[in-house]
Structures are given as C-alpha cells and as structure tokens.
C-alpha cells in the first residue's frame, strides 16, 4: 500500500473496498486542505491587505477619471475629484456634449470612424484566416508544413517594419488616407496570429468527423461550412473579441494610414492630449467616450476572451 496508485488502480480499489484506510485518509486530507487553504487566505491579514491594496490601485485611477468627466469645468480646475466625497457635489454632462459635438472637437465623427474602421477590420481577417487555417489543418497540399511555419513565424515581425513601404505603395496607387488602406493593413497584420490560433482550434476537432463527411461525398467547402464552422463558433468569438479590441484601441495603424477626416477615436484623443493637455474636462470625457465600447464588449464577452487568451492568444 505504499506505492502511489495510478488513477485506474485508485478507482478500482475504492470501488472494491470502500473502507480501506488509505482511501479515507486521502479524502480527509483533501477536504481538509481545501478548508485550511480557504481559511488561511481569509484570516491572514497581510495577504488580505496586499490584495486589497492592489485592487484599489488598479481601480482608483479609472474611477477618478470617470468622476472628473462628470464634474463642471470650473470645479475640475479648482479641486480634485475626491472632494465629491466631502460635500463638493455637482455633476453635469456638459463635458460630454462639448467633447462629442463641440465645434473644434466633434468626437462623434471620430466615433463613427472607429466603427467604420473596426467592423471590416474584424470580419475580413477572421474569414481569411478561417479559410487558411482550414487548409493548413485538413487539406493535404505540397509545401503545407513549410508555409504554416512561415506564417507562424511572421507573428514576430513588428508592424513598424512594414509601415513605410506600405504607405509608399498606397501613395503610388492614389488611395492613401482612405478607409481601404486602413482595412487592408489591419487585415494583413492580424493574419499570422489568427491563422495560428484558429488552426490550433481546428486541429482539436476529431479527424473522424471530417473523414465521415468526406466519405459521404462532401467537398472541402461543404465540410468547412457544414461541419467545422458550427463547432468553431466559440473560437471565432474569442478571436473576434481580440481583434475588435486590438483594432478599436490601435493607434499606430490609424495614425500612419488614415487621413485626418477618417482617423479613429484613439488618434484624435491622443492629439487632444498633446494640444490641449490642460483641458481636463474635454480629455476625461473624450477618454471615456473612447473606452465605453471596448469595455462593454469586453465585460459582456469576457468568458470567450479568457478562453482565447489561455489558448496563447496575445498580440502586441
């Protein structure tokens, strides 16, 4: 009874004779361990204090900005946002009005731009990489593994390396500054990671399923849409959220390729921070206008996001 039982043995043993001492000791210690672990965490004042401090440090800055964005311009200039807790309470939505529709700022236009840029820049690369991932996973063609490794390794190429030559081309074609260049650039830059990730998800689907469909006479297109696509919806959702956050929050691509009229919110807000660094009533409201959509998407679909992240999905 001293050797460690393999899982199979352990199950067989406990099923045959319930009251073997070793089994009961095992169970006890496990329960005990959980209890001690839970109790230990809650009753250790140091651990709780550190955890609470971290949680506060991670929350307070955003909270301060949110409160400030609803305070009147004069109050923002005069006192800190924490004074709302000690009696200096007056709130307004004027800042948001001015930021969204003011003459010189008009963030609503850029809000529209962010949407117009983001939606195709999410749909196009996902479709392309789904098709490519399918081919890499389930179609046998010469040079398959070489090409897959090549695509995989393109992940490490920093975007910066591609910007100037691409921009030169767009200028030559007379399309520079248009949405088309932004969509194309975002789609290209998303592909290596997307193909790699979706390929991994596709490989998890049992080969017998695909084989069965093939025996029934289905072509690749049919297999892709009828068999694989429905099973991949969670994977697609998780990468979709990634790409959405990435494109919506992107500064580099928007700044480089989009003409001033078509720039996304991030570019405009960054510009405001540079030119009107002291106008906190505009900056705080503007920052929250830029954050609200990704926050909603993120919180609503957090489950898929975590799953995608744990699959090794991170792009920088």
């Amino acid at each position: 009874m001293t050797s460690t039982p393999t899982p199979g043995q352990a199950v067989a043993g406990s099923a045959l004779d319930e009251d073997v001492p070793q089994t009961s000791v095992r169970k006890l210690t496990r329960l005990e361990r959980r209890a001690i672990a839970t109790k230990g965490k809650l009753s250790s004042p140091w651990a709780s204090a550190i955890a609470i401090i971290i949680a506060i440090l991670w929350t307070i800055p955003s909270l301060g900005l949110l409160i400030t964005s609803f305070r009147p311009q004069e109050d923002i200039r005069r006192t800190g946002w924490w004074t709302v807790f000690t009696g200096d309470v007056s709130f307004t939505v004027d800042n948001y009005n001015e930021a969204l529709y003011g003459n010189s700022n008009d963030l609503s236009t850029f809000f529209v731009n962010s949407f117009v840029i983001t939606i195709p820049a999410v749909l196009i690369p996902i479709t392309l990489s789904l098709l490519a991932a399918y081919a890499f996973a389930w179609i046998d063609f010469p040079g398959r593994s070489f090409l897959f490794v090549a695509v995989f390794s393109l992940q490490v190429v920093p975007l910066q390396i591609a910007l100037v030559p691409l921009l030169a081309d767009y200028v030559d074609w007379n399309v520079n500054g248009s949405y088309w260049t932004v969509w194309l650039s975002h789609s290209i830059f998303a592909l290596p990671l997307a193909i790699f990730l979706l390929h991994n998800f596709m490989k998890d689907i049992p080969a017998s399923l695909v084989e069965a469909a093939r025996v029934d006479g289905a072509g690749h297109v049919k297999i892709f849409f009828r068999v694989l696509f429905p099973l991949l919806v969670p994977a697609i959702a998780s990468f979709g959220i990634f790409q959405f956050l990435w494109v919506w929050n992107d500064l580099l691509v928007g700044l480089t390729f989009a003409a001033p009229d078509y720039q996304p919110l991030t570019v405009k807000i960054a510009e405001l921070a540079g030119t009107r660094g002291g106008q906190w009533h505009l900056l705080t409201a503007g920052a929250f206008i830029a954050m609200v959509v990704p926050l909603i998407v993120f919180i609503a679909l957090q489950r898929f996001f975590v799953r995608g992240m744990l699959a090794g999905a991170v792009k920088g």
């Binding site: 959980r34 965490k41 392309l128 046998d140 920093p158």
Partner: protein, 329 residues
C-alpha cells in the same frame, strides 16, 4: 463615385463599409465556388482557393515590406545613397540614441517582470477566496482600455499644480504627497524617474493578462502534488517557492515573453504622455519620429530592424523553454 475613396457623411461612410464587406464576401464566395468541385480538381488547387488570398496578403503586406525596410536601412535619409551600416552605427553610438536604447531596455525588463510578479502574487492571494471573481475583474478591466486611454488616466493621476497656498492639487498622487506633508512633484518631467512613472502605466495594463494566465496555471496544478508537498511539511511561502512556481514555469515564460514583446513595440504610452521628451524616448516612438517627422527613412528603417532583432532573443528563449518542458513530458 468619389464616396468610394472619400466619403463625407456618416451615411456614406457606413455605406462604404457595407460595400467593402460585401465586395470581400463576394470575391471569397466566387473563389470557393470555383474550387468546390469534389474529385475533379487536384487538391492543391482547392488548397490555393483557401490559402491563396491570405498568403498573398502576407507576402505583400509583411514579407515584402520587411525586406524593403531591411534594404532601406543601408541607405541615407532619402534612400539615394548606399551608406552601409552607418545608420546602425548612429543608432548604437550617438549618445542621444544610446539613451533611447537604455530607456527601452528599462521598459522591456521592468514591465514584464513586475506585471508577472504582481499578477502572480495577486492570483495566489485571491485564489479560492469568496471574492475571487470580483477581485480578478477589477485587475482585469484595464486590458480593455487602449494605451492612449490608460495614458490619459495616469496623466491625470500625475497632474501637477504649482505649490502655492491658494492652489489645490488635482492629480491624486500629488495630493497624496501634500497630505503626507511633502512638496508636489512633476512626475513626468523629472529624469530619470519619469520613465518609471510611464512604465507603471504598462504594468497597470498588463498585470490583468499575467494574472489570468497564471491563475489558470495555478488551478491546473494536480492536487496530488500539493498534497504530497503538504505532507512533507511545506506551507505558505515554501509551498509557493518549491511547488507553485516550478509547476507554472511554462506559463510564467509565456507571460514574460509576451509582455516583453508587446512592450518593445508599444509607443502609444510614451507618445501620449510625454511625446518622447524629457529623456523618455523609446525605440518604437523614435522610429515614428524619424520616419514621419524628421523624414529620415534610412535611420527609421534601421530602428525598425533593431526592434525586430531585439525580439529574436525573446522568441528564442520562449522556444527553448517550450522544447525543455516538452522533453520533461
């Protein structure tokens, strides 16, 4: 038809968006329709239908520009004269650029390490407590915020007002200093500490990622191992040091290398908060300045290549660690 390139109104913009998506869907549907003839078409043609467009995109938009940039890095500022390695010599020997490299190094070392340490510590502390879900959500949320947004949030925390009797501080950090009886500081201007205050923003964003991945790794540690260690008398920090950390080593490596790569390429924070002034410039932002402000294409290309070369050791380390953990298995 000017709205196809230059839409003016919101309606035109959304219309253009729909046209673009429809056009793309149409082209892809046509390609798939053409290759969807079971048995009669060789498999490589079918494969081409699936991977053709994506590979074309990648070859055109990443591979080719990468090679062009590499080539350009050996030329002068307008690309008219071949100057060998002069751009690289400039980037590594002039004191101005050495400072940039040094600051970048500080970013790449500090941001991943501290994010991972704080993320791991927090994950262990809140693991299996009553508030685990809420506690994690609080640290997780900054991941959804753009670096520009995070920069504005923190710029407001660091906001400085002159130290005079009738002026109140509006930045939280300076107010804390005042409450403690200390003089307020210009956090974003005083060198070399301003770089540290910028790195804090990156840590604030990335800790949520580190925490989530590491927390999942901790929960995946088999109970048997923990139990055995406990029977051998390991508790508290000993358990953390000898069981938790070695068990989640692969996840730790992924977290560190991923954040390091992200940090290397990120220029948003520096650009938004200081514009690279006051000795806070990093390679990624210097690239942007040289390429689009100074118009020095050769030097910009060289800096982009430097960024690429700096990523390679991180990747190599990652791959080696992955191989190692596979061998153990």
């Amino acid at each position: 038809m000017t709205w196809l390139l230059e839409p003016d109104t919101t309606t035109e913009k959304f219309l253009l968006m729909v046209v673009a998506v429809a056009l793309f869907a149409g082209v892809m549907a046509l390609i798939l329709f053409l290759v969807d003839r079971p048995k009669r078409i060789p498999s490589w043609v079918v494969a081409l239908g699936f991977v053709g467009v994506p590979l074309l995109f990648l070859a055109y938009g990443l591979l080719r520009p990468g090679l062009i940039t590499l080539w350009q890095s050996f030329f002068n500022r307008n690309g008219t004269e071949f100057i060998g390695f002069d751009n690289y010599v400039t980037a590594f020997t002039q004191s101005e650029f050495q400072q940039v490299l040094l600051v970048t190094a500080a970013w790449v070392i500090l941001a991943p390490l501290l994010s991972a340490v704080i993320g791991l510590g927090y994950a262990v502390l809140v693991d299996r407590t009553r508030f685990e879900k809420l506690a994690k959500a609080l640290v997780f949320v900054p991941m959804a915020i753009s670096m520009v947004g995070a920069s504005i949030i923190w710029k407001f925390v660091y906001e400085f007002r002159p130290d005079q009797a009738n002026i109140n501080q509006i930045g939280l950090l300076n107010q804390v200093l005042v409450w403690l009886g200390l003089p307020p500081q210009q956090f974003l201007i005083g060198q070399p500490w301003n770089t540290w205050f910028l790195i804090v923003v990156m840590i604030w964003i990335q800790t949520g990622f580190a925490m989530t991945v590491l927390s999942a790794a901790i929960k995946a540690i088999p109970d048997d191992i923990v139990e055995a260690a406990r029977l051998d008398g390991l508790h508290g920090f000993g358990m953390f040091r000898y069981i938790t950390v070695p068990s989640i080593r692969p996840a730790l490596v992924v977290v560190l290398t991923t954040i390091a790569m992200g940090t290397l390429k990120a220029f948003d924070i520096v650009r938004t908060m200081t514009g690279g002034q006051f000795g806070t410039q990093v390679v990624a932002n210097e690239f942007y300045t040289q390429a689009f402000r100074q118009g020095n294409q050769g030097l910009a290309a060289a800096l982009a290549v430097v960024l690429f070369v700096l990523v390679i050791p991180i990747i190599a380390y990652n791959v080696r660690q992955m191989r190692k953990s596979e061998e153990i298995r």
